[in-house]
Assembly symmetry: C2
Homo-oligomer: 137 residues x 2
Amino acid sequence: MEQLLDILKKNQLSVTAGRKKILELFLSSPGALAHADIEKNTDAAFDRVTVYRTLQTFVDKGIIHNIPTSDNSILYALCKDKCEQGHHHDNHVHFICDKCNKTICLDDVTIPEVRLPKGFRPKHAEMVVSGVCDDCK
Amino acid sequence: MEQLLDILKKNQLSVTAGRKKILELFLSSPGALAHADIEKNTDAAFDRVTVYRTLQTFVDKGIIHNIPTSDNSILYALCKDKCEQGHHHDNHVHFICDKCNKTICLDDVTIPEVRLPKGFRPKHAEMVVSGVCDDCK
DNA sequence: TACGAGATTGCAACATTAGTGCAAATATCT
DNA sequence: AGATATTTGCACTAATGTTGCAATCTCGTA
């Protein structure tokens, strides 16, 4: 609970019920969350628009980052220590379980470097592995 | 042009104007295409629904595959030889250029294996690198 | 503790993107 | 060319995301 306030204050965000609740969800969730998950888990206590804006604020501040997916959903997950405003460092692999459909941040698995063709300047890399997770195996 | 018919026939698809045009677009495009790109490039000659259905059919048949993106867009790109119905083998890296915003299949760059934590069974991996492409550097 | 400026929220309306059923049109095979 | 099965387009519905603005809330200051 202290952690919640810490994070919000560290990012110069005023503490509101919505931000507390949504941040709490992320802190207590092992995986990534979609907008829809958040609405479900808050019993729609907050307006859709508020959720959108809160997520956007959190991304801007570097509290959460989004994860690429092949379908058209946007997933969000907590950033680790090294993320700051406008400067994300989430260079870990994400895992999507085909059975339970959860997305999990593998914080200890860093994205390997790849050799690109001539002329390509890489700046950022994302890697998503899908399969069966530890819980579902 | 022969190639077009070949691909369609090989996949037991009847040859229609829409499928020809859309497949032609993919064959002549260096990068990935979104639904919107296709509508633009065909001057809306085909119904939106037809485009959706055609893309879905192509994915099902293994002619194209979709590419994960961090925003909420769905991108499609041609599959290479080894893709068959219900069985994609597009294990190459995708590159998104921050300047021209194009998505390019780096067919020669294969996705490296990663060591996952205990209990995780990987089945498929996606990797997207962003930065500046050869044309924009 | 009460106040006020500024930030945040909720509502309503709007915009975009995607999916479905069904009748009309088209492709394929003979 | 004609029959059959597939494909297309239209109308409708649904889900998802965005914007303006008034009401509400937060936080520093008194």
